[in-house]
């Protein structure tokens, strides 16, 4: 696969797309962890939701 004289442009654009998608995924994953940790913390301190179920009880 020869990319011709403009290889750098092609590679850069693919790399950029990969990078932005990776950042999105990482952001969402980290955010998920953080919210769950906070929920556990709050539950440990004895706060419960009105329904009585555990708020952190999600897969």
């Amino acid at each position: 696969m020869a990319l011709g004289p403009y290889a750098s442009f092609i590679v850069t654009s693919y790399a950029l797309v990969a990078a932005v998608v990776a950042i999105l995924i990482a952001w969402i994953a980290i955010d998920f962890r953080r919210q769950k940790a906070r929920l556990r913390e709050l539950e440990a301190s004895g706060i419960t939701r009105r329904s009585g179920r555990s708020a952190a009880d999600i897969r």
Partner: protein, 243 residues
Amino acid sequence: MTLIDLANPTKFLSLTGRILPWLAGATAILLMIGFYQAAMAPDDYQQGATVKIMFIHVPNAWLSMFVWGVMSLAALGTLVWRHPLADVAAKAAAPIGAAFTFLALVTGSLWGRPMWGTYWQWDARLTSVLILFLMYLGLIALWRAVDDPSRAARAAAILTLVGALNLPIIKFSVDWWNTLHQPASVLRMGGSTLDRAFLIPLLVMAVGFSLLFVTLHLAAMRNEILRRRVRSLQIMQASQQAA
């Protein structure tokens, strides 16, 4: 499973928890196939290898507009049916849409440099995508500006709808504006007469990116639901301690 079930955030969490891994897997496979096909696609006789940028540029460009459509639907859900998941869907979609729009702009610029000799042209299509990007950023700024999520949701919903009404007007006016000044110099590829060798990888990529959006959007919605739970628990904590 009915729509009513989906309306319940707890049900939503457990359901999406089950299907997300499958979705993510499908997305990864499709994108890999697409990438392989794109790598194998022949060079264009006019554009050479740079045509490969098309396979990521066009899906991102399509999604940038599609996501605003999704947010407009969610906005209707917020204003008309006062549906709590609609707020969540709208808020979660904005940053993802902005990211796709950003990618469409950047890959387009990177394509434009070899094709037109400049990164940026004030061409009608490019300019209207840029305005779309600015509107995404404005919407994100709006979400950040209010800490009470339901207030923010209604304000954002109104802006999203007004934006959706305006986008066609903007598109139309930008077309007019550009053709007014430099009629024949709009450089663009042949358009409709796309060879099968290009069309199939492009479609695979497009479906792959759409699945990517669905996956990311569902995951972001889950996070948003959790964030709201955290918030209400924190507030309850404040008031429980008071009592």
